[in-house]
Amino acid sequence: MTSPTFSRRELLRLGAAAGGGLLVALQLPVSARALMGAPVDAFVPNAFVRVARDGAVTVIVNKAEMGQGVLTSLCMQLAEELDADWSRVHGEFAPVDPVYAHPGYGIQMTGGSTSTLGMGEPMRRAGAAARAVLVDAAAMRWGVPASECSTAVGRVLHAASGRALDYGELVDDAATLPVPADVPLKDPARFTLVGKPTHRLDTPDKVAGRAVFGLDVDLPGMRVALVAHPPTFGGRAKSFDAGAALAIPGVERVFDVGSGVAVVADGFWAAKRGRDALVIEWDEGPNASLSSDELAARYLELARTPSDLVARRDGDAEAALASAHDTYTVEYELPYLAHAPMEPLNCVVDLRADAMELWIGTQFQTLDHAAAAATAGLPPDEVRLHSTFLGGGFGRRANPVSDYVVEAVKVAKGTGAPIKLMWTREDDTRGGYYRPMWTSRLRAGLDADGALVAWAHTIVGQSFIKGTPFEGFIIHDGIDGTSVEGAEDLPYAIPNVRVDLHTTDVAVPTLWWRSVGHSHTAFVVESFLDELAHASHRDPLALRRELLVGHDRHLGVLERAAQEAGWGTPPQPGHARGLAVHFSFESYVAMVFEVAAVDGRVRPVKVDVAVDCGRMVNPDTIRAQLEGAVGFGLTATLYSAITLKDGRVEQGNFHDYKLLRVHEMPEVRVHLVASDAPSTGIGEPGVPPVAPAFCNALFALTGRRVRRLPLRDEDLRA
């Protein structure tokens, strides 16, 4: 861990200011183990790239590929500076090694939409250093000054003599030469690859079904394990009768692993039937009466008293409210949400007496590796973790307590053979680590001219950062930054602002969920602003324009989305538009949503999305992430809620935790706003504006203001 006050913005500052000062060192991996499998006849200038004798370039990617396109975009940035032949470049997932740590958080991880921001420049430097050595090797071979050589498409060229050498032909010479510590980077104006729409490197394998995800890993003699989890959070098995389970052909072992009762079998179906046949008496523990309805009532009570933990204080909001001409008070409620990655959670473990290997699609290599080693009682050096593709992550595969990894190692300890721990869809839906439930109470004051003079926002919800290694980075003065992000940095020019936080203590395990705090704050802030615009008879775009003076990048995306959507022109009869703009993960996204009344129901029709995420790396990936974010955000808006009754999660599979389907997907038009600012996040920033833009459009169409997600049937009547 590098700095107790590290934030994304800090990372951005470091990246922009340092020009070589980023915390990623370009040495080789610390552990020799990390190099195992690397061909000996390759040129390996640093931990991020290998050039083989046949000219193939392997880029070592330290990030999890979970759909966001990072495998391709990091390869592009390295290849750009290397002047590699892009058709010869492929990516490989990094082993666990300190050299692959996140430059801000000091551990190997993928999250917070920080991959491009944090790793873009180190990848470029790694490529530039490799290129410099290859140029030196060619220059020596030819006996000419390196300054007379140039590079293009995987070759070193000497224009004066018309000579050229493929990188592959220089591998042996380059391997003997020193690698310069600091090499100047290209002027972005000279980029030939970065900034151009580029096909994803992982597409062909994913289309063919060849890409290997954790669940696809198979080892000789491997068994499959399912665990029967307690029906309540904090429960455990008091006793169990394994007789019927063990009678099922293929079921081999049944034992308690603490988090539940494991059934180990020769395949999934036997394990599933065995688990179904188990008779378990549960000690339901202290949370057997938890109810989300009761929690919601408690949260509303709490929200009605501002907290002493103040995240933002400008002027005196209470006094301004007291003297305001008009005041508005509203309450917004959002539910627990499951991540529901399409590939259910899993982990493959091969535990031997003195060593262990794991195969897992994870966002948290360092922590999963350490937790696995500790659970096995092995020194970390004897544990090797292989990263696979992730069938979706959305934060669920970044758990500081490595829940299912620890469980898998415990199962392996009790089995004596390689095991694949699988969670079924029901296990995943009911297994906890949800986006927290949130309640917000907002009060606003307008003066006699209708100007917004006071804004007071009280937020109620759980902290999932408390007690984790991230506490020092994210919790300041008792305030969890992930609870208030998107609210405490309210961009609107209002003279009196107060944002405060009640952190609740509830036994439901919670975690970051794609866009984290912004997944609730954007909905609340952008909806309420819309309410105030309508209350003061102003156009929602005009009000935002007025209040965003000086916030040029907010305004840039807002104006672009509005213009592309034809804001200000009358929509088709039976249609209406709503807008939202939000800044998150250092990127700016505005959306104008168009909805229509079809057969008595409000339907999403079209979204115009404008984005400014700094200098673009792969514009096609930016488009794809925003298209996907619209569907992901709409799923949460229309369908998603995890509710609890008698301590039990009421949802189980996709019939009651629904996902948006193709016929519900609106047309998405993505508008890219050019920028020379540093490249920033794109995996998450598209999600926050979806719910408010949709609900603001719903209001424009029906006059019905929705302050609770997901929408109910009656909310959508038209």
């Binding site: 979970m66 759909g67 966001q68 396109g69 096909h199 994803r200 992982d202 597409t203 062909p204 994913k206 289309v207 063919a208 079904g209 060849r210 890409a211 290997v212 995800f213 669940l215 696809d216 198979d218 499959v224 052909p249 293929g250 395949g267 999934f268 179906w269 036997a270 039937r273 529901a340 990655p341 399409m342 590939e343 259910p344 593709f389 992730l390 069938g391 979706g392 992550g393 959305f394 869809r425 096609d620 794809a624 992430q625 298209e627 996907g628 974010a629 619209v630 569907g631 992901f632 599979n653 996709f654 019939h655 996902l659 948006l660 389907r661 193709v662 016929h663 997907m665 047309e667 998405v668």
Partner: protein, 156 residues
């Protein structure tokens, strides 16, 4: 009891629990892991394969029901429809995480085999059983239209 059928043209005989779903025969016994598990309850389409040319959810198909059938998985998807889909899916970079995509392609193949030029409404019906958490639906729709154009000879 032994059940006989073919998978991608190869003869297969399966013993053991006749209630075991085809999905696990494919993934665990035959190592054909291109067919994915998402829900186990015919809710998501990740496990879609063709049985005698029709799209079926392999997670709920007991091997018992397969006697004498011909099963095709993503690994065996061939012919002009398959080629057109793979090309369209690749050109448009449809997959994000990728987990649902082979199931999407198998459903799309069944759709295109019946309707060479599906309308948007027909795509809605043919594809609504396939969920995508990454919500790649915009490109799935485009790719089906593109594959349809390729089949018509609209290839560039």
């Amino acid at each position: 009891m032994t059940i006989h059928f073919t998978v991608n043209g190869r003869a297969v005989s399966v013993d053991g629990d006749p209630s075991r779903p085809l999905l696990w025969v494919l993934r665990e016994t035959l190592q054909l892991t291109g067919t994915k598990f998402g829900c186990g309850a015919a809710q998501c389409g990740a496990c879609t394969v063709h049985v005698d040319g029709r799209a079926r959810r392999s997670c709920v198909l007991p091997v018992l029901s397969l006697e004498g059938t011909a099963v095709t998985t993503i690994e065996g998807l061939a012919g002009e429809v398959g080629d057109a889909l793979v090309r369209a899916w690749t050109e448009l970079d449809v997959p994000q995480c990728g987990w649902c995509q082979t199931g999407q392609i198998m459903s799309a193949a069944a759709l295109l085999s019946e309707r060479r030029e599906p309308s948007d409404a027909e795509i809605d019906v043919g594809m609504s059983g396939n969920a995508c958490r990454c919500a790649t639906y915009v490109r799935i729709r485009k790719a089906i239209h593109r594959a349809s154009a390729l089949l018509k000879g609209g290839a560039r």
